[in-house]
């Protein structure tokens, strides 16, 4: 299949007006093949999360081209779009409504799309993410960070999308919990042939989860490379190399003596 599952071409995203006008994303282009896993890496302010929000339709002030399975997307999305693409958010403490039970959170998308068999689907979703039916009527404040993130993943999968946008899904979690959630995401992708677009600042996580990465800085794509190239320490751009070095731990010679 030649046609990429997700294609972004010359994406620009803007914020604010007049004095506050700011271009967060500048001419970003990349392609993700079906069943692939693509990483957008960058530090804060690089625009990586903004790209995700533009792709998902949460932000409407962008220009450029975004295509899903060959179809060009308009800034406003219809309900059918949400059955193709879903998102998992970064902060497990903020992505679940504090007054809704897990059951309500999971059955809501089904209600909005008129999908029946709610109880069966909710119980299966809880099973698929490794939580049992004991969690069904709990509130988010009764769940740990890792459990909340699993609920967030379950919610994203309720509409059976083919593309998952992952916005730093594990950066708020402890290392051991991160491992569980990343394993869960890998397993789900293998089982359901999902396509992932993952945004993160952690090169080790992206190396584990993705096949290809685009490194972003200040709204632009600085370099695109495969994960293999990165592992072999073959990045071409200085910024990528710096990011790579920083991810490996503290190295006094590399980082000392730079005034800011």
């Amino acid at each position: 299949m030649d046609q990429p599952m997700l294609e972004v071409a010359d994406l620009n995203v803007y914020f604010g007006e007049g004095d506050d006008f700011f271009q967060a994303v500048n001419s970003v282009s990349f392609k993700v093949k079906k069943g692939g896993s693509y990483g957008l890496v960058g530090e804060s302010g690089s625009g990586k999360s903004t790209v995700l929000r533009a792709i998902s339709g949460l932000i409407a002030d962008w220009d450029g081209r975004i295509c899903v399975e060959g179809k060009v997307l308009a800034p406003k999305r219809g309900k059918a779009f949400y059955r193709k693409m879903q998102m998992v958010f970064q902060d497990p403490y903020a992505s679940l409504h504090p007054r809704h039970t897990v059951d309500r959170i999971l059955s809501e998308p089904l209600g909005l799309h008129g999908i029946g068999d709610v109880e069966t689907r909710v119980l299966k979703a809880l099973d698929d993410v490794g939580l049992g039916k004991a969690f069904r009527f709990r509130y988010p404040h009764q769940l740990s960070g890792g459990q909340r993130q699993r609920v967030a993943v379950a919610r994203a999968l309720m509409l059976e999308p083919q593309i998952l946008l992952l916005d730093e899904p594990t950066s708020a979690l402890d290392v051991s919990v991160q491992a569980e959630v990343l394993n869960l995401l890998s397993d789900l992708r293998a089982e359901r042939n999902l396509t992932y677009l993952m945004v993160t600042h952690d090169l080790a996580v992206v190396a584990h989860m993705c096949e290809e990465i685009a490194v972003m800085s200040h709204g632009k794509v600085v370099e695109v490379l495969s994960v293999d190239q990165m592992r072999r320490s073959e990045p071409k751009e200085a910024y990528t190399r710096e990011l790579l070095m920083a991810s490996k731990g503290y190295d006094p010679e590399f980082f000392a003596g730079e005034a800011v």
Partner: protein, 307 residues
């Protein structure tokens, strides 16, 4: 023996870690909130005071020793404890205690009606303004500003003067002056909430504006509104009393507490009980609402629920 196991059955149902239905989950949260209320002595006191208010209102005919409207001019202005009048009698010989008990009905009526009108309207205006933004927000907020610009009592007076004296008009007037504060609160909460990830998540499921506002935003605004409402109640009772005092609220011979104070004004130096007793009643009920409101704020504060 069986009663004990039945009670522990209910308690067990309410303390389980694994609720089996939405109803059970909600009940558990409610029960936990109740436990918090009971453990806060001042808040519980406030709750009891209001319970007494409701009790008096419901069972007034059984609690009041005599009819509140019966006059006995021979026994007018009797001090408390004399002639069988526990709290004394007023200038027409009516039993003050009975009038206070029956007056609780009027107070409760005022409080309930205002509570279901002003905050509800304020919630509607505030949440829609906050979520939709743009010109809708501007227009709604300027309207709110206009109402907020008037001192409450003056505005209420103006309305009552225009609509005519009477308790229903007084309540309407008070509601009209009270709603803007709730609109402001609701809008502020909405502005904070609308950028949350859980709202983004439900937008990504295709939810429309109405669904989001009603099902996601209102439940979160509810706590602040409820707390504000309980704390406002004292002020509302006083405003109603003020209107009654000026003769613009409840009309004689209704035993509205404010009107009673007004009538007792003339005798305050020598027969202090005629004005003071209803005054104490207002004070206690206002205190009850304030204490309860403070306690509710501790219980309903969403920050406490954050892990």
């Amino acid at each position: 023996m069986s009663e004990q196991t039945e009670l522990s059955g209910l308690k067990a149902w309410l303390s389980t870690d694994v609720p089996a239905s939405r109803f059970q989950a909600k009940s558990i949260q409610f029960y936990l909130g109740w436990l918090k209320l009971v453990s806060n002595p001042l808040a519980f006191l406030g709750f009891l005071i209001l319970l007494v208010l409701v009790f008096c209102a419901m069972f007034a005919p059984f609690l009041a020793p005599v009819d509140p409207l019966t006059q006995d001019l021979a026994k007018r202005l009797s001090p408390p404890g004399v002639n069988g009048y526990l709290l004394g009698s007023d200038e027409l010989g009516r039993d003050i205690l009975s009038r206070i008990i029956y007056g609780s009905r009027i107070t409760l009526f005022i409080v309930t009606l205002v509570a279901v009108t002003a905050p509800v309207f304020g919630l509607l205006v505030g949440t829609f303004a906050g979520y939709l933004g743009g010109w809708i927000d501007e227009v709604l907020m300027r309207v709110t500003d206009i109402f907020l610009a008037f001192p409450k009592l003056v505005l209420a007076l103006a309305f009552v003067a225009a609509l005519g004296a009477g308790i229903e008009n007084a309540i309407l007037a008070i509601s009209i002056t009270a709603w803007p504060a709730y609109a402001r609160i609701a809008r502020a909460e909405t502005l904070t909430i609308r950028n949350s990830d859980f709202i983004s998540a439900v937008r990504l499921q295709g939810a429309g504006t109405l669904h989001i506002i009603v099902r996601h935003i209102w439940p979160l605004c509810l706590s602040s509104i409820i707390v504000r409402m309980t704390l406002d109640m004292a002020g509302i009772i006083l405003t109603a009393a003020g209107l009654g005092f000026l003769g613009l609220g409840a009309q004689p011979p209704m035993p509205e507490w404010g009107a009673m104070i007004s009538a007792g004004r003339k005798f305050i130096l020598d027969q202090w009980w005629v004005a003071t007793m209803p005054g104490l009643a207002i004070f206690i009920v206002s205190l009850g609402f304030n204490l309860l409101g403070d306690g509710l704020r501790d219980i309903l504060d969403p920050k406490k629920s954050k892990s």
